[in-house]
Symmetry: C2
Subunit: 475 residues, 2 copies
């Protein structure tokens, strides 16, 4: 078997066999197939796509390129979730303890902020003492002790995926559905979870910009799940504006704690209940969405979810004092409120622009491994559909120093250094990150009907009951 023949076969549109895909991924992982052949192959896959059996074979080959965790000695069914990345997406911080409080263990290997997209590990590290990089033994112990663990990927988790993703990033081959789907699923499978909920974001603040793209990715990932015998459901959720109010690290932890206390933004709470509901249904703890939602609300209301959060943070070395007093979280020295330049309805909030604005404040990173300022961020006021008067606060910027603080540039979402020569626009009274809708609706109309806001637009795979999934697996 020769790498060039496999490239040529894919280039010419013929489906590859499992043996060919395994040969290619094994060779690439071990270095006998060089980067340049893998790059040509990825571009051929970009153009020719992959069949379902090919995508399953690729996923399994990447998952088995390193250690595949088996957590069944800890619990019969472990839940996990994956978000395709977004702005203000602190969901894991709430749903991990919430699902665990329902008796479903949650073991999640998570990621870090990159580009406009935030990272759960960076958010958690806002909590003093929290350790986000556990060894496999520590990961297993935390899961066994408190039923929830969230950590960085172990070094030997799907190494083929790590290598291939870095290559795709610089060769224009990221935007391929089978490659994205197999990349995500290989890590989830190697992470040892049985019940996996995929949260596919769609909109300006997501990597998938249309619902059709998101549905295609969701469909591909759930079909991989079927192909490898895991319980998988996918939810497509809106990321045209940030999720909740807070975008940053400490500010998002604060919002997550408020939500676990029974408060928090309505959109964010609803999102958490849907994702967590899917997880406990897939794990067999509930037979219907209604019952799942009821159970989850009980765990929030009783304080059980917050107690589980406390156990979890403590188990990973975090200072639980921040839970009772969020003012102990890192705080930005400069807080500036940005007023609305106009009266009208908020028609759109460009999530991607706000994501990049937080990067420019130092709260995200352009390159892997760059340090992060946990203190900074943006907290939104009125969201899409709301009415604002001129001068009313639109959002609040939490900045580390003056040089990072420029409301207009931040709202535009451009890194400050790139706009240094265009400073004439700094005096503008428009905030391009927001669009105010000066239509003729009277001020007392509470919502702009055609801006109907849909946090969940489509649900793929109809969240099957555990029993059905279980039966399917047994067949």
């Amino acid at each position: 078997m020769h790498a060039v023949d496999i490239i040529t076969k894919k280039r010419d549109g013929s489906p590859l066999t499992s043996e060919e895909i395994e040969f290619f991924i094994r060779g690439y992982t071990h270095g006998s197939i060089p980067d340049y052949q893998a790059a040509a192959w990825c571009m051929a896959v970009y153009f020719q796509g992959m069949t379902e059996p090919e995508t399953v074979a690729l996923t399994l080959a990447m998952a088995h390129s390193g250690e595949v965790l088996d957590l069944h000695d800890i619990a019969p069914r472990i839940a996990d979730k994956h978000s395709s990345g977004g702005v203000g997406d602190k969901t894991t911080l709430v749903i991990a303890p919430l699902v665990a409080a329902c008796g479903v263990p949650v073991a999640k290997m998570s990621g870090r902020a990159l580009g406009f997209s935030g990272g759960t590990l960076d958010k958690l590290e806002s909590i003093p003492g929290f350790r986000a990089d556990l060894s496999v033994d520590e990961f297993r112990k935390a899961l066994a002790d408190c039923g929830v663990v969230v950590s960085g990927q172990t070094a030997n988790l799907a190494p083929a995926d790590g290598k291939l993703y870095a290559l795709r990033d610089v060769t224009g081959t990221v935007a391929s559905v089978p490659l994205i789907a197999s990349s995500i699923m290989s890590k989830k499978i190697a992470g040892g979870a049985d019940a996996i909920v995929l949260d596919v974001k769609v909109g300006h603040g997501a990597f998938m910009e249309t619902e059709a793209q998101a549905a295609n990715l969701a469909r591909t990932m759930t079909s991989i799940g079927r192909g490898v015998g895991r319980h998988v459901a996918a939810v497509i959720s809106d990321m045209s504006q940030p999720l909740g109010q807070a975008v940053g690290n400490a500010v998002e932890v604060r919002e997550a704690i408020e939500t676990l206390r029974g408060g928090g933004p309505a959109d964010f709470l609803e999102h958490c209940l849907v994702i967590a509901g899917c997880m406990i249904m897939l794990a067999g703890k509930s037979q219907s969405e209604q019952r799942a939602a009821q159970l989850l609300r009980e765990k929030l209301a009783s304080g059980a979810a917050l107690a589980k959060f406390r156990d979890w943070i403590a188990a990973q070395g975090g200072d639980t004092a921040v839970i009772d007093n969020p003012d102990l979280l890192p705080k930005a020295p400069l807080i500036e409120t940005v007023p609305s330049p106009q009266t009208g309805f908020v028609a759109a909030i460009n999530a991607r622009a706000f994501g990049y604005a937080v990067v420019s404040l130092g709260g995200g990173r352009e390159k892997k491994g760059a340090p992060i300022d946990h203190r900074v961020g943006i907290v939104l006021g009125p969201k899409v559909g709301a009415w604002v008067e001129k001068g009313q606060p639109l959002f609040t910027i939490h900045a580390g120093d003056d040089s990072r603080l420029n409301p207009c540039d931040i709202a535009r979402g451009l890194p400050l250094e790139r706009t240094a020569r265009g400073r004439a626009s700094s005096g503008s009274r428009h905030h391009p990150g927001f669009r105010t809708n000066l239509n003729t609706l009277p001020p007392h109309t509470p919502h702009v009907p055609r801006m109907a806001w849909r946090p969940f637009s489509v649900t793929i795979c109809s969240r099957p009951s555990t029993e059905r999934c279980s039966r399917q697996r047994m067949q």
Copy 2:
């Protein structure tokens, strides 16, 4: 400008600007753009193609990645030809001195045998003492002294092309017309010729297997020629069976000498007259094909072409005694004649199979840089359309030793080692390299009408007269 953006732009089907192409090729040549980005880019070009201006820009960028020869101090118009590779194609050996004998200097940088395709330099090196790797100074001196020079590429000739071709070879991106055309043309342009005739082979023994592919390549190359202001014509010629009778190195030199003496196979002579005719027309020595052919035949008949051959071989250090006594050329110790297993018409001679057969005899090479046995080869008897009786010689094998000699495997064109386990077939009386056509035509019918043999099927660019080309260049 970022390499990944250029890859993505091409991937998405947008034409690249000259600046982008120059940036990419310069970066790749100097190593700031790595192999893996170039590989992804080549695959994107494979799928999206290139416009004429893009192909011209790529050709110029590769030509100017190294030294571009200017030979105008030696002659106002220098001719060159390029063949896209074939089996038994000894054309340069005849046309270089023939065209030079007409007063048109010929300066050609040539290649070596690889795979089924022979190499002019290897053929010339059959002549004792012949030096095929000249320095630039020696190249210029040989051209100035005798009006003809054929040498290997100088190290600094279009280095970008050398690097990119090696990459394409292992990444499944060879078969892209704009990449093939720009690769050929960049070297021709850097070689300093003004009047360039492209001989595009089509058939089993060529890289282009259909006329449509060959016409596309020819059209692309002539359009590059127009784009860069050189006089370029293309000829599409048949390579479904080997050209002439001899396939090998010393055996082809012998056939070329016979042709320069006024003999040689009719198909090969006709091919030489067409190519040489194009060259002298492009160079302004003749206004019509008829006059060109007449002039060329005169130079053959008068011995002027043979005298020029003698001068040329001497100028490059070769022993001219072989011209008067071809028996002084390297001779194979074993010569075996293969009889026809059947009576009938020769319906096809698989040129590629014979090319590989010569490789298996040691007269070609599978890998660059491998040594070559100049003595070995195959000399065909009857060609396509001819009648053969059972037992009549089909071809003669010139081999170095017994272990290399296996008529059946050679005729099948498979390397001997690969068929070692299938030796049962060695006793077969069929020679798969040949197909005998046992149709119902009576034995006295001289030709099978539907096997009409076309050495030149299409001529692109209608070989414009020099004056027209010159005017076009001046506009």
